[in-house]
């Protein structure tokens, strides 16, 4: 029996290591963002609804915001749109849109048709700002605190579960119930 003890132990170790590997496998589609806990990338982009206005990271400083990366070409963005509208209605945290590699006219008609959950939408035609944020597939949402630090990233659809478990819980108590 004893001569099997070591191989069995090695096998068990291997199982544990592989299980960890499978659990953290990027095949689940989630790559941990290196941005968490770091300052949000600087940007300055035109506004979708008012081309004369610019939306910049500095103008967003001093309060919590949720940066939502979307595009009218993106199917899952349609799925999460209802939740975003609900977030807007709750007034808990402003949602800033980042319209990624999109056609302005199509983006505008998307907002007219489905409703506009965004306080303001920054237009990223060439996708450079998205790269700075480490975006690789829409939709993605980033929660940024008043100090301009990225606190959380939601990869994919912003569901009610994500909103309640991941985002609300990270906001300060008095903000969680804000109605406006």
């Amino acid at each position: 029996m004893n001569r099997f003890a070591l191989p069995a132990a090695v096998f068990a170790l291997l199982v544990v290591v592989l299980a960890i590997g499978i659990k953290h496998s990027p095949d689940k589609g989630i790559i941990a963002s290196p941005l968490i806990g770091k300052p949000a990338p600087q940007f300055s982009l035109p506004s979708l609804t008012d081309a004369s206005r610019t939306v910049s990271s500095t103008s967003l400083r001093g309060r919590w915001y949720l940066l939502n990366v979307w595009g009218s070409w993106c199917g899952s963005c349609r799925e999460e749109h209802g939740m975003l509208l609900e977030v807007r209605r709750s007034g808990v945290v402003p949602v800033i849109g980042l319209d990624w590699k999109d056609d302005d006219a199509q983006a505008l008609s998307w907002l007219t048709q489905l409703g506009n959950p965004y306080e303001v939408v920054a237009v990223d035609h060439d996708g450079r700002t998205a790269i700075d944020w480490g975006v690789y597939a829409a939709p993605e949402s980033f929660l940024v605190n008043p100090q301009g630090i990225v606190v959380y990233k939601c990869m994919g659809e912003l569901t009610r579960q994500v909103w309640e478990k991941e985002i609300l819980s990270r906001l300060p108590k008095q903000q969680q119930t804000a109605k406006s």
Binding site: P26, I31, P34, G127, R128, I131, D132, W133, G134, Y136
Partner: protein, 162 residues
């Protein structure tokens, strides 16, 4: 003339069929392979830059498709990342600048050849550690086997004596 040649032509016919088949296979190969060449038409102004560009785009992972290099991926994000690589190289940035740029945005996963950091240390050290473990185990086995062999000179001497 034609008549005279007919028997030969008939004899060749199967060969011609085979040739046709070969041509079709080749054509199919070219057609299937064509998109692979069409993915990245980027040309750098000089061969050294081109070489660096190719090396970098082949060692950066397409974060969306995940098991392809950005050089081979038709995804939109891959072409955007190739553009960043091209622009940075044209701006005189070093290969490490490009790698660090990607690392800061997409994390270790973006590098097909991981850097040596605390997080990735085990990736680099594990093979060496496993080799040492293997060497130790085989040394133990060999020593155990040697111990099993009785003093081996005596039978030989007996042989000589006989």
């Amino acid at each position: 003339m034609r008549r005279a040649l007919t028997p030969m032509a008939t004899a060749r016919r199967p060969a011609r069929g085979t040739r046709l088949l070969a041509c079709l296979i080749l054509l199919a190969g070219v057609l299937i392979g064509a998109p692979a060449y069409a993915i990245d038409p980027t040309e750098m102004p000089d061969p050294v830059l081109q070489q660096r560009y190719l090396a970098l785009t082949h060692e950066l992972r397409c974060v969306q498709c995940q098991n392809e290099a950005i050089a081979d991926s038709p995804a939109g994000i891959a072409s955007d990342l190739r553009r960043e690589v091209r622009d940075m190289l044209l701006a005189g940035k070093s290969d490490d600048d490009v790698r660090n740029f990607m690392l800061a945005r997409y994390g270790d996963f973006v590098l097909f050849r991981p850097r040596f950091a605390r997080k990735t240390a085990w990736l680099w050290l594990a093979p060496g550690v496993l080799l040492l473990v293997g060497a130790f185990v085989s040394w133990r086995i060999v020593r155990a086997r040697i111990a099993l062999v009785p003093g081996d000179n005596e039978p030989l001497e007996e042989d000589v004596g006989r």
